[in-house]
């Protein structure tokens, strides 16, 4: 499944993560990650994002993630919200 619309979720406040998903021309998942704890937790954050995207069956997508120290469940929540918004039928209230 591919994303055909751009959507955002989250904020740049402490303990949160800002996620923007958008259509990608290329096959696969492209992830650009910025984080205040990139050196310590970059791999874990990346894995959480990719796992959440895969669980939704999305295989073609571009993701920008700007992390401010979010816990795993916050990362999952923000990614799922961005995907819900990008994949929702027009006019559907989420």
């Amino acid at each position: 499944m591919r994303v055909t619309r751009t959507a955002k979720a989250g904020t740049l406040e402490s303990n949160d993560i800002f996620i923007m998903v958008s259509p990608s021309e290329a096959e696969g998942v492209t992830l650009e990650l910025q984080s205040i704890v990139l050196a310590q937790f970059g791999r874990q954050i990346r894995e959480t994002i990719l796992r959440t995207v895969a669980a939704r069956g999305v295989t073609q997508i571009s993701i920008l993630a700007q992390d401010r120290g979010a816990l795993d469940y916050t990362i999952e929540a923000r990614v799922e919200t961005a995907l819900d918004r990008a994949l929702a039928e027009p006019g559907v209230i989420l």
């Binding site: 979720a9 989250g10 406040e13 402490s14 303990n15 949160d16 979010a70 816990l71 795993d72 469940y73 916050t74 999952e76 929540a77 923000r78 799922e80 919200t81 819900d84 918004r85 209230i93 989420l94």
Partner: protein, 312 residues
């Protein structure tokens, strides 16, 4: 003894940092808010975040309440459905009137039948009464669901509905407060008073909390973590009264040992209502760690370190 709800602290449901720290702020209950604290464009985001937090995050011993959106809005049923999947301790139902509580009750019952094979969810309900109709029908509201364990009175929306100004003295909400407190006592549920909105006025908050306690409220809502300790102080038993209650119970034991049915203390006759009140006071004081040798948790004792008079 049932759980204390001296404070119910509102926490915005779309703020990860505040949700993470909710359990260390000292409140007896935290209200993760999906309604007024969340803009219309972020309802989905907050609902998802709160759902994930309830699945993954430990709130330790703090009771977790979630305020959903009114069941009459498009968001209310979505919130309710999502929350039943994770079953917080309490759901706070805003704009509570008989019809809205019945609607929530019916939806929960349908969920239990369809998803749980008839097994009951653990989640209880709190009615947020914040309209003139809600106040006038408080008894009917409390009778409309067996899951209700309390009422939170919302003074701001109530006065807005009445078309009257909110004042420091609170005369305009006196009738509603009295009615809610008495109705809750009749139905055996908690009565939680409206928040004090001037967060920098600590003396005013303490006086308002003491007034609510005197009216029969069991607790008060808080909108800022700094209000929690002050409200607990306002709802703490007076050490002088606790000492007297302990003496009443001692005198009662002596009288029973001597086979006396009625006895006096300090020249005044002690009868059943006084003994009942003394038992309730001592039970609460023990729970708060105000009585030496009580079994209160370290957290509860620490929370009461600032009480006037200390241990009895």
């Amino acid at each position: 003894m049932k759980r204390l709800r001296r404070t119910m602290l509102f926490v915005p449901g779309n703020n990860p940092g505040m949700i993470q720290s909710a359990s260390v702020l000292g409140a007896d209950s935290v209200i993760l808010d999906l309604e007024d604290a969340v803009s219309l464009s972020e309802k989905d985001s907050a609902r998802k975040l709160v759902t994930k937090a309830l699945r993954s995050w430990s709130f330790k011993t703090t009771e977790v309440t979630v305020r959903i959106n009114p069941i009459t809005t498009v968001y209310g049923p979505l919130d309710l459905e999502a929350m039943l999947e994770v079953q917080p301790d309490i759901l706070l139902i805003p704009k509570a009137e008989v019809a809205s509580i019945q609607e929530v009750e019916a939806r929960i019952s349908a969920y239990e039948a369809a998803k749980l094979g008839g097994e009951a969810v653990r989640t209880k309900l709190f009615a947020l009464i914040e309209s003139a109709a809600g106040v006038e029908h408080v008894h009917e509201i409390l009778a409309s669901s067996p899951r209700l364990v309390g009422v939170l009175f919302g003074g701001e929306d109530y006065t807005s509905d009445m078309g009257v100004a909110r004042t420091m003295g609170g005369m305009e909400i006196e009738y509603a407060r009295n009615k809610v407190a008495v109705a809750c006592k009749v139905h055996g549920v908690d009565a939680v008073d409206t928040p004090f909105t001037d967060v920098d006025n600590h003396e005013g908050l303490l006086a308002d909390a003491r007034k609510a306690k005197a009216m029969g409220f069991t607790g008060k809502a808080a909108i800022n973590p700094r209000q929690v300790g002050i409200i607990h102080k306002g709802f703490a038993p007076d050490p002088v009264e606790v000492r007297y209650a302990l003496r009443v119970l001692e005198a009662m034991e002596e009288a029973e040992a001597e086979g006396k049915g009625v006895f006096s203390l300090d020249g005044k006759m002690v009868d059943a209502p006084i003994i009942q009140r003394a038992r309730q006071m001592v039970a609460l004081a023990e729970k708060l760690g105000m009585v030496k040798g009580s079994t209160a948790s370290k957290d509860e004792k620490n929370a009461n370190d600032s009480l006037e008079g200390g241990l009895v």
